[in-house]
Amino acid sequence: MEIKVPELSLVVLIGVSGSGKSSFAKKHFKRTEILSSDECRALVSDDENSQSATNDAFDVLYYIAGKRLKSGLLTVIDATNVQKESRKGLIELGRTYNCLPVAIVLDLPEKVCEERNQSRPDRNFGGHVIRQQNQQLKKSIRGLKDEGFRQIYILKSLEEVDAVLEIKREKLYNDKKDETGPFDIIGDVHGCFDELQELLLKLGYSVNRTDETEKNFGFSVIAPENRKVIFVGDLVDRGPDSPSVLRLVMSMVNSGVAYCVPGNHDLKLQKYLNGKQVQLKHGLEVTVKQLETETAQFKSTVEKFLYGLISHYVFDNGKLVVAHAGLKEEMQGRGSGAVRSFCMYGETTGEIDEFGLPVRHNWAKEYRGKAKVVYGHTPVPEAEWLNKTIDIDTGCVFGGKLTALRYPEEELVSVKAKMVYCEPIRPINFNENQNILSSQQEYDDLLNIEDVTGKRIVQTRLRNNITIREENSIAALEIMSRFAINPKWLIYLPPTMSPCATSDIPEYLEHPAQALNYYKKRGVEKVVCEEKHMGSRAVLVICKDEETATKRFGVQNEGIGICYTRTGRNFFNDAEIEKEFIGRVNQCLTKTVFWEKFNTDWVCLDAELMPWSAKAQALLKDQYAAVGAAAGGALPEVEQALQLAFDRGIKDALPSLEKFAVKNNAISKYIKAYQNYCWTVDTIDDYKLAPFHILATEGQVHVDKTNEWHMENIAEICAGDTKLFTATPYKIVNLNDQTSYNEAVNWWMELTKKGGEGMVVKPYDFISIGTEGLLQPAVKCRGSEYLRIIYGPEYDLPENIERLKNRGLSRKQSLAIREFALGVEGLERFVKKEPLRRIHESVFGVLALESEDVDPRL
């Protein structure tokens, strides 16, 4: 005997104690698929026969079964299940998760069961128990179908049980995951035959009339390049020629050029054709009239066709779902009455609006699923994406247009309605498209706290899952809420950068050899060395004009761009200066024909903005200058006292006198070091902006380019405004060429001798994969004098530097890579026009990781 069960089903075993359910289950299902009531009894009471533990045991069983079904896993319930009440709960459970319930009944002779129980010392209940169970079982069998089981298998003897060699799992009808497209998904047609024909033509299909055969209904359609049409349903009613639409669609479906899911109108027509009592309104009366001249045979074929339509389809490895009224994530790929009804009517609140129509609950607003959902049902003036869903019913029959979505291109193709065939009950404002913000942008106006709090796991393209710990989310939420700019601007936060490994040359803490070797060792042949500027990290989002700010970023009345810090704060505290600064950058981009060259209206730049003292005023005053001032106030007093003592003949004062002279020298070097990066800013020209990455423009995240490409293109921008912009000097270094290598080292020496911060070494390709996976996107090597302000004025004294050399980089490096992956992820998501929460998740992640405890001197 062959048993077939749907791939995703709730298999309920039914049989008296001793009927062999557990053995049967073990034979045919995976261990983890089986939930046994006895085992649950054992879990909660240490005794698998404890009847007093039954309630708790079933709580556990239901809980686990629920979790499994939610995750789309077949689940087998191994319990007697001989009473109707006990099965009722399971049927409910199946319904809750839209999984089909299947019953497998082991109706074996009482004697067999009794014998088995007697052979088990732990099952010492009397024969009356089996007898009673058996009576209940017999009573049950006939009612199983009415109880709601979709498939019922009854095994009446040991032979029959043994004859089951395999339980076959069948795909659900809606599972078309193997079909990857490309598709042209067409919205509600409602009998608009001419427009449909025109649209198909526009999409590249050729539609020819032929003689009707069994296979087709008068049309033969040839698709371009393996494309297929998917109709979202509501083929009929209201419009001028529903019979022709049906003929065309049926021809296409039958010949395999199209899929079709049913709409509520199609379903109603089917009921009517089947002879059921339906009210002839909402356009059905029109269709009925049009069908009057059709043959009975045609009508019966139509009825069968419509009846056979599958509520929804899951295509392209689960990436695309098509259903007439859309479908929530938890219902996708499942089969139940509730799923079918959702597909047909969507979600309603039960209320009735002023037009007497049911009030719809917009499920798409809450949609968080991975699959894109394409649907129709509700006429809208324009098809617009919202949270990966799109309604493509643009109300053709009401005088709007008939729209197709090309997948995977995501291009919308429409033809205008030739006329208004029907007035809608609830008016549709086809000219409403003056909406300044798109639906997605309106929806994105507010982020949801659930999307950022607690422990989070963010999936990234570059490095799979990245975990954000709860304590870091807590810190990030405060910083984000209190200090960060409008999240709509905040599409990127830069990663931290690891220094190179510690030098083994005694007088150096950092030396370029280690930076170069980091890449050389990992198989990188070419690197780009860039001078490191000592200012403040700045990310710039600059739009061509205010319209772009609104259209692309959904930002209104906040200017044409923004400049923010590595923690998402506004770089400028003064709105006027900010405006002027952004304006200057914008003008420079315009002047250097950046917009045209990159075919974009906006850009995200990663840069260093100098002087350091411009943003870090507080830090300089409270920290760096303060230390200098304290030392400057104290050290002369110290030297004077020691000198007096020494002069008085206290020779033991000499070592201290010398030591404090060294300290004095160190502090003046230290003061010089930080002063190097400070100057007074009076006008915009006193700022120096040094961009180093063109992170993203419309449609592109430029991480697929080389770092040389970035430097070259940036140099072109810098040439447009040499007062404000500074082109960063850089060198391309061939790591296998000793001369080139030495040049890089010497260049660093030169730069740092002049008081420069040092240099950044980047792999030639922006993203480099080495033997150990993703490599550091950059490694910094800081100059000796600069390090004085990081490690303290006297860090380079031999006894100090030796101790400081004992530093570990692994945490910093791991952090840098994780932040890099998250940062790029945010940009990718933005460029792909994903909902703001998805971009915010990545950016928030970077901020949260930044609060991890890592030595800040690295």
Partner: protein, 467 residues
Amino acid sequence: MILNITTTHKPATDLGYLLHKHPDKFQTLELSVGKAHVFYPEKSEEKTTISILLDIDPIDMVRGARNLGGDGFALGHYVNDRPYVASSFMSVALSKAFSSAMNGKCKDKPELVDVKLPFEVTIAVIPAPKGGEILIRKFFEPLGYKVELIRHQLDSKFPEWGDSKYFTLKLNHTITTKELLSHLYVLIPTLDNDKHYFVSENEIEKLLQKGEGWLKEHPEKEQIIRRYLINLNSLSRQALERLSEGEEIGDLSDELIEKTEKQKRKETLHDKRIKLVAEKITESGAERVLDLGCGEGKLIRQLIKQKQFSEIVGMDISYNELIKAKERLHFDEMSPKQKERINLFQGSLTYKDQRLEGFDAAAVVEVIEHLDLNRLKAFERVLFEFAKPKTVVLTTPNQEFNVMWDKLDAEEMRHDDHRFEWTRKEFLEWSNKIGKTYNYKVELFTIGDEVENIGAPSQMAIFTYGN
């Protein structure tokens, strides 16, 4: 880093006996993070000076530095002023170097112990942030010292950066050696907020011992004690600091700074405000209430006393404040019944939050002015469109009243973190707009004593849903 004690007592060389330190020796003591040297730069019958010089190892100090708390920027733990200032390290050095003198003992000349001697003390340098000069005077002058202060410039290359918080301090007094040393021991570390070792119970003992005989009568006793036993920062605070980029996070609650008149005034105003808000919430008949931006839970402590409230939810963006609120409410010791009524969680008023839905009333006390104006729209939607409590009681400062407070420039705001302060008209307009947009009835109130043409220090709006 250096402290000089000079006396002109005749013979001044008695200083050596008093302090148990040979005038012609250079002595070195080991400290936990370095050394202290004790020596005499000058010695004569007329005038003798002893120096105590700290020689702190900055790298050693860094070890375990994360436990120090410290202020502001995370890097501050590594490059900081500790090696150059007289801080609690100096107190430790004093007590180590001069332990018998501090305990009032003098082996060779016991008669000197009770003699008041003319002393001059020079300390280079003393860190004294936030109103430091006043503080130094307030602490030393009541004890009879003549105080002279020289303030150091931050950076000579950038005079526009102004003065630093560092002073060279000169003290003159005629006093016993024991008194002098115990004053210095207690007061030096109170001048700045840093402390280099954990404050423990032991610390209280030390303070009481060293303050014997003078601290009780000191007019600034409370402040001295409070500052001596400085708060420890929590770990979450440190996580925040790492994000601060050196800018001050700015505690939203009372800091450990000297209470100025302004602050005292603010406190009484705040008490009035809380009282009024609690009254209004009660009047609204609400049972389930929200305190949005609850801070350390002042309002919650008012509300909890009333049976009327079956559920009180406090939300704040600062996790630290919530911890404080829990402590002040004694949340952990509450009975289960009481705990059931209270729920505290971190949240942000610019993110939509389901947890805030379905409440009768919400208090939003002195919160909105901490939001950037361009984020206010998000707040409005979160509260009035989605959380939609039946009643909202909201307060914010009246900007017009600022002129009544001296030391507050016309442009200056009342709190560093305020992003805006509204006039009565601006608040009225905003409130009416909210009422109209989200279908709330609006009533306006004043908080504090009103002045003609200026209004009261604070303003309040009560929004009631529906018309």
